[in-house]
Structures are given as C-alpha cells and as structure tokens.
C-alpha cells in the first residue's frame, strides 16, 4: 500500500452563510500529482489555504504524514515541508531573483539570528538557491531584480522558492495562469520533471495540462469533492461530465 503524505477528512469552512468547503475528504499519496479541478468559485484556493494554514477550517482534520496539523500555524507547517506557489505571485520585488529563492533555503536551515556573515556571499544559502533556479530554468536570471522579470519568469520563481524549501508536499495554485502557449508548455514539462520526486497538489484550469500531468484527479464542485479517480475514470464519469466537463 502506498503511504499517504496528506490526509484530509470531514473538512468544512463557512464564510458566513456560504459553505466554501463542504465535508472534503482528500488524500495525496507519496510521489503522486493529485490535480484538483472544478469551476470558478468551487473553493479550490480556499482548500489550499487551509492545507497551508493561512485559513482555519471550522471542522474536520488535516494530517501530514499521519500527524494532525489542522490548527498548526502556517510557518510551522512550512517547516514540516508544505510549500506553495501562489496563483498571484508573491515575491520580494526589491530583492534579486536568487535572494528570493534563498528565502526558501534559509527557512529550512534553522533560525536566522545571524547578524554578521553576509547572506549575499553565503554559499550555504546561494548554492541550493541556484540549484532551485536551475530546476525551473531561471538560473541565468539569478542576479536580475524581480521587477525586471516577465510574468512567466515570475511564475517560475514562485516554483523555485517552493522547491528551495525541499518540500514534502507541494501546492501548485494555477502555475500556468496567464501564461502564453510557449511558457505553458515549458511549465508542463517542468512539472512533469518533478513527477515522482515530490508529492504535489495541482490546481489548474488548463485541462490538457491536468490530464497530461495528474496521477489522480479530484473534482470539486461547490466546495465538495464529487469524484476522485484516475484521469481515465474522470474523463468517462457521467456525474463529472454533467457537473463540469460537459459544457
């Protein structure tokens, strides 16, 4: 039996009268890409935020490697190895590209109460950061400022920071959003290259990308997972077609 990295059951989140997360049950197996699809407003990002700890669920549990993290704050979960690349890029624009990536490295090297040695020449930070940039194909831009990056490059940097954290579980929130065709296909092959090495939750609207990359797919409609299965099962499921793929 394959080990589950992430295990969620009975998860609920209300925003006033709106049930944004409705009794969600979800698991992510070691090394799999688990895609979550669903129409806009289905609660995909809300779910990711609860897994990450930026939002508190009202009910249910979230377990990482069997340990209950439902109410643990976000920074502690990050140390356990939950990393996310944001749908709307969240970078430090006054820093060079490599320093952004170094942020991901630094957090896992223990506390940062080090005041003398210069981070800009600290190989313990820079080498893994450069490695993460290389993985996403951004190493040639290491010294550029974030504000000089294109949209596609920013998405790559988002991913690089997450990879620099050496995550146990990688949350990818629409990594192809707003990208041109060329950038999209590059990002698809990039994520395909991560397959097997990381356990990944992928939220994406690009169905070609989802069916190419995913090992399993969960369909989220109005905050509820109506179906989980292999791409083949999802493609042929009548309920899913009716709810989502049909139109």
């Amino acid at each position: 039996m394959t080990h589950d990295v992430l295990d969620i059951a009975g998860l609920n989140k209300w925003f006033g009268g709106l049930r944004a997360t409705n009794d969600i049950m979800l698991s992510v197996r070691e090394g799999e890409i688990h895609a979550i699809i669903g129409p806009n407003g289905a609660g995909k990002t809300t779910l990711l935020s609860q897994i990450q700890g930026l939002l508190r669920p009202d009910d249910g549990y979230i377990k990482l490697d069997g340990e209950d993290i439902t109410y643990e704050p976000a920074h502690k979960r990050a140390r356990r190895g939950i990393a996310r690349s944001f749908q709307i890029t969240s970078l430090i624009s006054e820093f060079p590209v490599i320093t952004n990536a170094a942020l991901g490295v630094q957090a896992r090297l223990g506390h940062s109460f080090r005041f003398w040695k210069q981070a800009g020449s600290d190989l313990e930070l820079l080498e893994p950061a450069l490695e993460a940039l290389r993985l996403v194909g951004l190493d040639r831009r290491a010294g550029s400022l974030v504000r000089d990056l294109s949209h596609g490059e920013r998405r790559q940097l988002e991913l690089a920071i997450a990879l620099a954290q050496k995550p146990r579980l990688l949350l990818l929130d629409e990594p192809m959003a707003g990208m041109g065709r060329q950038d999209t296909s590059r990002m698809i092959s990039l994520i395909a290259g991560l397959k097997g090495q990381y356990s990944i939750i992928l939220i994406e609207h690009d169905m070609d990308a989802v069916f190419t990359l995913a090992d399993r797919i969960s369909v989220l409609v109005a905050g509820h997972v109506i179906k989980t299965g292999t791409p083949e099962q999802i493609r042929n499921d009548a309920d899913v077609r009716a709810a989502y793929l049909g139109h």
Binding site: A78, S90, T99, L103, K117, Q118, L130, A142
Partner: protein, 338 residues
C-alpha cells in the same frame, strides 16, 4: 553575468559610510584651523543624532515600521547618565547597601544601553503585535508615557531637567574636553554603522527586509517575522538610548524636552531625508537636518516654515532622499556598464 551578491551590503555602500565618518573626523582639525570651536559643538550634535537616525532606520527603512517612541528611548538613555551622575554626590542607601553613582562613561553608557534596550523590548513585545497606523499610535502612546514619567521625576529636576555637575570621564580619563568627547562619540557612531551595515546584509536582515515588503511570503516559507522584528526593535532601542546617553554627557544636561514625541518625528525625518534604503543615508539626513535647523533659525524666527518647505522639496524631488542626490552627482562607476 549579473551580480549574484547584489543583495548584501555592497562595497559602494561601505565606501560611502567610511567617507562620511572620515569627513566627520576632519571637523575638529578644521575647527581648529578656522578658530571656530563652535563647529565641534555642532558636529557633536550631528554625530549623536546620526547614531539615533541610523538606529531608527533599522526599524523604519528595513523593518517597514514607523516608530514614534524613539525620542522616549533616547531620553531614557540620557536620564540613565544624568541620574547615575546625580548620585555621585548623593549615594543611594538601600538598607545596608550603599550604591554610589558614576559619571564614567565606561559604566554609564552600557547601563544606558541596557535600560533603554529593556524598555524597547517591552514596548516592542506589545506594539509589534499590531501593524500600520496602530503600531504608530501605540508607540506614540509609549513615548508620552516616558515623557510624563520624566516630568514626574521631581527628585531629578522634573520639568526643568537634570543638570550633570560631576566631570564626565571614560575609564577615569576626563573627556569633558570638547575635542576628546567628539572622537569618543564618533568612534561609537563608526562602530554602530559597521554593525548595522553588516546586520542588514545578513540572514537576519534578509528576513527583516523580506517581511517588511511581503509578510505572507516569509510566513509560508516557514519563518514567523515577529521575533526578528522584536530583535530589530530592541537593537534599535539600545543604539537610540546610547545616542541619548551621549547627548546628556555632551551637554551635561537632559530634560523631558529631549524626549517629547515630536522629537521622534525629527528622527524619522532625518532618516527619510537622508534616505532609508541605505544604512548610511540617515547620517547624511541628520547632518543636513541639524545644519539647516541652525542656519535657518539664526536667519529668521519663522525658520520652521522654510525648513518644512525645503524638506518637502527634497523628499518629493528625490524619492530616495539625499542619497539619490549623490547618485545623480557621482559619475557612474567605470567598467560596470551592464
């Protein structure tokens, strides 16, 4: 190939800081040549407020937090020196224990740093739970508390302030001499500038600066910024208290006026005027602030109006403060055309 080390304190910044300190070091010989000892008095003030301005900038420019309690911390440092000197002639009797005062800077400066640091830590622990306007208001409230506490110190002069009557020494050596004292203060400023220059380029500085721009990003990689901000705030308080201690020692006087909340505003203005994006910019700001204040106030009674307009022009015209002006004047360094 782009410069990978661009994040940390550059050689250019280090050079600028060294140049500023060196220029300040030349003031006493210049004053001696010009037979104008008053210059040293002004420069002493510049050095002391430069220290306070680079200290507040750790919180302001790098931590992204506007603190209005730094005049209070400044005053606390000053009062520690004043009160310690007061008890030279009048030891404190605590039961069988007799505590003598001191006016030796080797004892009183560290003591001032300790007390203002502890106060800063207490203020920070409470106010850093808030942010934005709330942080400004809470620090302002703390400043008022410190201010009225100083007024309430009837034994130490209350509203009239506290005169230091004993001779100021350093390791037993008399530093009451204006020139000697100046170099002591300048050495302190140089050391503080070096430490801050290192800190903002370190791992600590990286977290502090990243959290100022994007707190969520820092949290989701696994770092809670609160503790880092508290350390920055405390360190800033230690250095600000040290500056206050030096001011009290230099003018042999400290009073509640030195810790009024608008003095906190002055420190913020000095930092912004010089440029908060560099650790040395506030030195430039403090020097300009004090020189302008002096020149304009000798020229007209309504000097603050002119002063305000000049500061407005500088801040609006040069977004990065006076540091930007230097960048415009200085030729681009050769060989770095890419």
């Amino acid at each position: 190939m782009a410069d990978i080390t661009a994040f940390s304190t550059s050689r250019k910044d280090a050079l600028a800081a060294v140049a500023l300190i060196a220029m300040l070091a030349l003031v006493p010989p210049a004053a001696w040549l010009l037979h104008d000892p008053f210059l040293v008095k002004v420069a002493t003030r510049i050095v002391i407020f430069s220290l306070a301005a680079i200290a507040i900038n750790l919180v302001l420019g790098y931590g992204g937090l506007v603190s209005l309690c730094h005049a209070g911390l400044f005053g606390i440092g000053g009062y520690v020196v004043g009160i310690a000197a007061f008890h030279v002639s009048e030891p404190i009797h605590l039961g069988p224990l007799v505590l003598g005062g001191s006016s030796d800077l080797a004892i009183t400066l560290p003591l001032a740093m300790l007390v203002s640091g502890l106060m800063a830590m207490a203020v920070g622990a409470i106010s850093l739970r808030t942010s934005g306007p709330y942080f400004i208001m809470i620090t302002l409230a703390f400043n008022q508390m410190f201010y009225y506490a100083a007024i309430a110190l009837q034994k130490y002069g209350g509203e009239d302030g506290l005169q230091i009557l004993s001779t100021i020494t350093l390791f037993g050596v008399d530093v009451g001499n204006r020139y000697r004292f100046y170099y002591v203060a300048l050495a302190v400023l140089a050391l503080a500038t070096l430490l801050l220059g290192r800190a903002i380029g370190s791992r600590f500085g990286l977290i502090l600066r990243a959290a100022a721009e994007n707190e969520t990003r820092v949290v989701v990689v696994g770092v809670q910024p609160w503790a880092y901000r508290l350390v920055a705030f405390t360190a800033s308080g230690v250095l600000t208290g040290l500056a206050g201690a030096l001011l009290a020692a230099s003018q042999q006087f400290i009073s509640p006026v030195d810790m009024a909340w608008d003095r906190s505003g002055d420190l913020v203005v000095m930092a912004v005027l010089g440029g908060i994006a560099t650790f040395w910019g506030p030195i430039l700001g403090a020097a300009t602030f004090i020189a302008l204040e002096l020149m304009l106030s000798s020229w007209t009674q309504h000097w603050q109006l002119v002063f305000g307009l000049i500061i407005l022009a500088i801040v609006v015209g040069l977004r990065g403060g006076l540091v930007d002006l230097l960048r415009l004047i200085m030729p681009k360094p050769a060989g770095k055309t890419t």
